[in-house]
């Protein structure tokens, strides 16, 4: 699905990732941990082709990213849902329109009942007409998750999705991600919240990847 082969990434000020090789299998659940600045976000950006590797090969859905043109990248991203910690919306559009945006830009028309169901599933059904600036941190994260999955992506990449929310909301978001994984979605969550990882491992066979000294290692079972 997404494969890294001897991937390195150099920001210009030094190598951030080096010799990264791994394969995200369909339906897998991975946590990505590591200290701040270790390269978690960079890894995720490489996984949805916002960044291109400075060495090695990243293959997304069997296509090497260097061979993708801008339209190919756009089409690839429709199959990958991304949730950022500092999630951004189009502030002039209501929540429902924001969540539906991936369908809109790909020329598809969504069923309003499906949209309502999705918003209800993430607990935002009553806020469909609200403008994004009026949402709380947790509501924004759940809205981002709804936007990320409305296209029925194969992969969901979440970068510190619980960074701005309380523990209760973190568990709620985790539950949603676990449910998506049970539906067959491949999930990668970058986080430094070890409690969240322990909670997840109790529910799904999640693997933990740790970035350390520019390399990615499979973490031990002590998590």
């Amino acid at each position: 699905m997404i494969a890294f082969e001897n991937v390195a990434y150099n920001y210009g000020g030094g190598e951030l990732l080096s010799e990264v090789s791994l394969r995200l299998a369909p339906g897998s659940f991975h946590f990505l941990t590591g200290p701040s600045g270790a390269g978690k976000t960079t890894f995720l950006k490489l996984a949805y082709a916002e960044l291109l590797p400075t060495a090695g090969h990243v293959t997304i859905f069997d296509r090497e990213v260097h061979g993708l043109n801008r339209d190919d990248i756009a089409r690839t991203r429709r199959r990958i849902g991304v949730v950022h910690q500092d999630v951004q919306f189009l502030d002039h559009l209501p929540l429902a329109a924001n969540v539906q945006l991936p369908l809109t830009v790909s020329g598809k028309t969504g069923d309003s009942r499906d949209l309502g169901d999705l918003l209800g599933w993430v607990g935002l059904g009553h806020l469909a007409d609200a403008l994004p600036p009026s949402l709380s941190g947790g509501e924004r994260q759940r809205a981002a998750l709804a936007r990320a999955i409305i296209m029925g992506p194969d992969v969901i990449l979440a970068d510190e999705p619980t960074g701005n929310v309380d523990w209760e909301m973190s568990l709620r978001l985790l539950t949603l991600l676990v449910e998506l994984n049970r539906m067959g979605k491949t999930i990668v969550v970058a986080t430094h919240d070890l409690n969240l990882i322990r909670q997840a491992k109790a529910q799904v066979p999640a693997r933990v990847l740790r970035i350390s000294k520019r390399r990615i290692q499979l973490a031990g079972a002590d998590l």
Binding site: D71, H92, L101, S106, M151
Partner: protein, 298 residues
């Protein structure tokens, strides 16, 4: 490009909505298109008027010449008759005639008034020559005139006809150049406005790229908006320009020499071409700017 044009014509409300509805670039684009089109109407009027002027001067003078005869009073009629006889046998001369005293008086009236005693003044006799097709040999005619009437001078108007026609032609060229510059300036202004709008909406563009929007989709929202603004601004500018030109004083009534800086006949339709042209300029400028700027976003 054809897809982009059809997308422009087909309103996509969803695509239109992704960009926030207002901003300082909105009025800037509309105002620029309006002001530039207003100026363009005058440049167009200048160019068309210069064209008419050049044609009028050329046509009026191209096939006529004047022979100016200075001779002692007792020889004047004799030499005039000799010249007319000579002209009658000159190949390429369609007709010729000596101007009457009355016509000479009218020619001099603007300078000396209506009561000029032409008969008492030593003014030369003027003979009008109309050239046939093909024309006459100017140099040969001059030599024959010298033999028949040494005081006769052939003036085929070339001396001052050519610079006038050239001046009018250059004025027309200047008008077209001004139109080109105005178009280029408008394209530059709209490009700047489009770039400013794209920069101001960087967050929107980032979100759209993240969720899988193609560059063409994002560009469409900006292109359609800027094109419609330019079109509407230009329509107002063209209308204002037309009114301005219509209110200009008619120079023909004053002197008859200048043609007047206005439109005639179907020429009044030309300004209506400007708004679609402005829209096309805005379309191309915004699309180029958008597609270039979007490459900055991963």
């Amino acid at each position: 490009m054809p897809t982009a044009i059809s997308a422009l014509l087909k309103a996509d409300l969803h695509a239109d909505r992704v960009v926030p509805p207002s901003g300082h670039t909105a009025w800037l684009t509309t105002f620029t298109a309006g002001a530039m089109t207003f100026l363009c109407v005058f440049a167009l009027a200048l160019s068309l008027a210069s064209g008419r002027l050049a044609t009028r001067w050329s046509d009026a003078l191209a096939r006529t010449a004047t022979i100016r005869l200075s001779a002692p009073p007792d020889q004047l009629q004799l030499q005039t008759d000799a010249i007319l006889a000579l002209l009658a046998t000159t190949p390429g001369v369609e007709s010729s005639r000596a101007l009457t005293d009355e016509e000479a008086r009218k020619l001099l009236e603007p300078w000396f008034g209506p009561d000029l005693p032409v008969e008492a003044l030593p003014i030369p006799r003027l003979i009008e020559v109309v050239e046939g097709d093909p024309g006459y040999d100017g140099e040969g005619l001059r030599q024959r005139l010298t033999a028949e009437a040494p005081g006769a001078v052939l003036d085929d108007h070339t001396r001052w006809r050519r610079p006038l026609a050239e001046a009018a032609g250059r004025l027309r060229l200047l008008g077209w150049l001004a139109i080109g510059l105005i178009g280029a300036t408008m394209a530059a202004m709209i490009t700047l406005a489009a770039n400013a709008s794209l920069s101001a909406n960087a967050q929107v563009v980032k979100v759209l790229r993240l969720i899988g929007a193609k560059d063409s989709y994002i560009a469409r929202a900006f292109v359609r908006r800027f094109t419609l603004r330019a079109l509407s601004g230009s329509a107002v500018g063209a209308l204002a320009g037309l009114i301005g030109v219509a209110l200009l004083p008619n120079a023909d009534a004053a002197g008859g020499f200048m043609t007047g800086l206005g439109f005639t006949g179907a020429g009044w339709l030309w300004p209506f071409v400007l708004p679609p042209l402005a829209g096309a300029v805005a379309f191309v400028a915004t699309r180029r700017a958008a597609l270039t700027k979007l490459r900055e976003f991963p």
